[in-house]
Symmetry: C2
Subunit: 397 residues, 2 copies
C-alpha cells in the first residue's frame, strides 16, 4: 500500500490522481491533501478519502471546512491552512509519495520540504523544475529520492531512459504539437489576436498554457525541466514538431538507437506510472496500435519562436535566469491576454527582463521567490513603458 | 576485452561483426571463426584476425587453407572442418560470446553446444529459433546465458523490453515493410511472377528472404522467433505494416505505454548492441531525427498473406510444426524461383505439409534435423504432384 499526499488535490492533476487511486483501492491510500480555495470540492474529497490531514489555502476556508466536517462527524480529519499547512501535508510522517501539482510558485516550499523529508515525488508542477529545479534536484540527489515526472513528455523520456544508462544518452527529443502558428508566416506574428492564440489545434487547456504553447515557451520550459530532471546539459535536449502528438518524446543513445514512447493522451497514465514505478500495473488506457496511420515530424523554427531560444539561453546560464523566464512569461502572457501588448512583444519583453537578471546560484526557496518577484516587477515596468510609447491593440481594449 | 567466436564469418553478418570488431580494437578479440566454402575470404580473415581456430565446411578446403596459412608463416592457427569443426569453434574455452550467423540448419548443433557450454549468444540465424527454438531457449534458461537477437526487429524488441519486466509486457508489435504486394489485390496473387516477387521495394537481400518478405513468411518466422526469444505466447505478438521500416518494432506494456525503437538500417548496430549489452557504446551510426518526416502504418491482411497465419498456427502447436514450416518454405520457395509452382501455391503446399506434421516436442538437435528432412521430402513430393497435375508456369521454364 503506497501512502500518498496530493498537493493541489482539487486541480486537474489532483483529481486525476484521485481517479487513479479510486481504480486501485488495494494499492494506494490517500493520507493527506492540500486543496486550494474550493471548499465544496475539498469537503467532498475529505468525505470520500478520509485523509489524516487536509490543508486549505486560506485560514477562513480552513475554518469553514473544519465546521462542515465536524457536522458530518469527521472531527478526526485535521484541517490546516496556508504555506505551513501545505508543508505539513507534504511532510506528514505517514506519507510515502507526494504528488506535487499546485500551479505556480505556491507549491515550491512544500515540494522542497517533501524532498528534504525523503519523500518520493511525482512532479506535475512546472515551477518546481523551471524556477527551483537546481535546488530541488540537488536535494533529491542528496536524499536519494526518486523524482518522477507527471507530464506526458518527461514521463515518456523517463520510460525511454530505461533503455540505457544516463551516461549513454546522446540526446533527448521532446516532441511538440507546434501550436496554432506552426504554419503562420513570421511577418504575421505581430498581428496575431488573442482569439487566434487561444485556439490551440490539439489541446483544450488553461489560458496561460495555451499561449505558452502558441509561443513554444511551454516547450522551452520542458527543455529546462528535462535538463534538470535528467541532469543533462541543454545541448543534449532537442525539440521536434510532431502535430499528431502521438509520440510523447524520444531518447537517442550513444550507439545510435532511439527509443520513443507513446500511449493514449490521458494524464492518468503518467500518474499511474509515477505512482507504481519501477513496477507497471495493468490499466484500461489502451492505445489502439491498429488505429496508427500517419505520423508527421519537422524541426521547429527558432527564429519564429524566440521563446524557445530564450529558454535554452536561460537554462544554460542558470541561477535566477529560469526563475525570471517563468515569471516574466506569466506577466507578459497576462498582458497579452488583456490586450495590452502584442503577441510578438511577449518574447521581446521576456528577453529584456532576462538581460537584467543575473545568474548566480539561488541557495534557498526564499531566494527563488525573491528572484521571482523581482522579475515580475521588471516585466510589469517594461509593459508599462510599452503601453505608454505604443498604441494599445484596440480590438482587445 | 570480449572474446568472440563467429559462426558464418564470411557471410554478411559475419563480415559486419568483423567490421564492428575493427572499429573497437580495445573491446573485442576475435578468437575463433567458422567460415563456409570461400577459402580466399577465410584466408584473408585468418591473416587479419589471427584467430586461435578457423573452421571450413569441407575437409579439402580446410587442407587448402592450412597449406596457405603455413606458407604465410601462420602455422599456429588451428584449421578444422565440418560440423565437428564448427562445434569446436563455438565451444572454444577462450570464447565468451558466440555470433551465430550460419544460414540454414547447418549452424544448429554448434549453436546449441555453445549454449550448453555457457557462452553468451548473438543470434542472427533464423533456424536457431524457428526450428530449434524450444530446445535452445530452454537450454539458455537452464544455463542462464543471454540470447541477444541480431536482427533489427528483435533487437528493437529487446531494447524496448528494458522499459519494464517481461510479466509487464502486454504485446510485442513487429513492424513489417509489407513487401512488394502490400497493395496487390488478392485476385492477382496467382499470376505474380518471379521478377515481381524479387523486386522488393525496400531491401536488397538474398532470393529466399526476398520471397519470404513478399509472402510475409519472413514476418511469420519473426513472430515465432519473438515468442521463443522472449518466452511469450503468439497471442502477445502482433504485426504492423510500416512501409518506411523506420520503427523497427514496438513493445506495449500492461499500463498502456508503448515503446518503439528506431535507428539507421545498418546491421552493425544490432551487432554492436548484442556484443556490448548491457552497456551501450558510442557509434557513428546516427539516425538523423531531423530528417524524420512521415511514418505510415496499417494492419496486415492475413487473408492475402496466409504464410503469416501458418506461422502463428505452427508456433502455437510447437514441436516439429515450426521445423516443417521453415523446411517446407525453403523447398517451395526454391520451386517457385524455378518456375515450378505459382506464388499462391507456396502457402498451399506449406499448409499441406504442416497438416501432416505432428507437434510432439523434439528432444534433441538430431530430432530437429530429422523433422527437417521429413518436411523437405514431404514438400518435394507435393510439388512433384502439383507439377504433374498442373501446367508449369511457362514464362519461367
Amino acid at each position: 500500500m503506497k501512502r500518498i499526499a496530493i498537493l493541489g488535490s482539487t486541480g486537474s492533476i489532483g483529481r486525476s490522481t484521485l481517479s487513479v487511486a479510486e481504480s486501485y483501492p488495494n494499492r494506494f491510500q490517500i493520507v493527506t491533501l492540500a486543496a486550494g480555495r474550493n471548499i465544496e470540492a475539498a469537503f467532498e474529497q475529505a468525505k470520500r478519502w478520509r485523509p489524516r490531514v487536509i490543508s486549505m489555502a486560506a485560514e477562513t476556508d480552513a475554518d469553514a471546512l473544519r465546521a462542515r466536517l465536524k457536522k458530518e462527524g469527521l472531527n478526526q480529519i485535521e484541517v490546516v491552512h496556508g504555506a505551513a499547512g501545505t508543508v505539513h501535508v507534504a511532510t506528514h510522517c505517514e506519507v510515502d509519495f507526494v504528488v506535487s501539482a499546485i500551479v505556480g510558485v505556491a507549491g515550491l516550499e512544500a515540494t522542497y520540504e517533501a524532498v528534504r523529508a525523503g519523500k518520493a515525488l511525482g512532479l506535475a508542477n512546472k515551477e518546481c523544475l523551471v524556477a527551483a529545479g537546481e535546488l530541488i534536484t540537488a536535494e533529491a540527489r542528496k536524499q536519494k529520492v526518486a523524482l518522477l515526472p507527471i507530464d506526458s513528455e518527461h514521463n515518456a523520456v523517463h520510460q525511454c531512459m530505461r533503455g540505457g544508462r544516463i551516461e549513454e544518452v546522446e540526446r533527448v527529443w521532446l516532441t511538440a504539437s507546434g501550436g496554432p502558428f506552426r504554419n503562420t508566416p513570421d511577418s504575421e506574428f505581430a498581428s496575431i489576436t488573442v482569439e487566434q492564440a487561444l485556439n490551440h489545434p490539439t489541446w483544450k487547456m488553461g489560458k496561460r498554457i495555451t499561449i505558452d504553447s502558441a509561443t513554444l515557451m511551454n516547450k522551452g520550459f520542458e527543455v529546462i525541466e528535462a535538463c534538470r530532471l535528467f541532469h543533462i546539459p541543454p545541448s543534449k535536449v532537442d525539440v521536434m514538431v510532431h502535430p499528431q502528438s502521438t509520440i510523447h518524446s524520444m531518447v537517442e543513445f550513444v550507439d545510435g538507437s532511439i527509443l520513443a514512447q507513446f500511449s493514449v493522451t490521458d494524464m492518468r497514465l503518467p500518474i499511474l506510472y509515477a505512482l507504481t514505478y519501477p513496477e507497471r500495473i495493468p490499466s484500461d488506457m489502451r492505445f489502439q496500435v491498429s488505429d496508427l496511420r500517419h505520423l508527421d515530424f519537422s524541426p521547429p523554427d527558432l527564429k519564429k519562436f524566440p521563446c524557445l531560444r530564450l529558454a535554452y539561453e536561460a537554462v544554460d546560464a542558470g541561477g535566477a535566469k529560469t526563475v525570471a523566464l517563468n515569471a516574466a512569461d506569466e506577466v507578459t502572457v497576462a498582458a497579452f491576454l488583456e490586450g495590452v501588448i502584442r503577441f510578438d512583444q511577449i518574447p521581446q519583453i521576456i528577453e529584456e527582463v532576462l538581460a537584467g537578471t543575473n545568474c548566480e546560484p539561488l541557495g534557498s526557496i526564499q531566494k527563488v521567490l525573491e528572484a521571482d518577484a523581482e522579475a515580475r516587477s521588471s516585466a510589469s515596468d517594461r509593459i508599462a513603458v510599452q503601453t505608454k510609447t505604443r498604441p494599445r491593440v484596440t480590438s482587445f481594449v
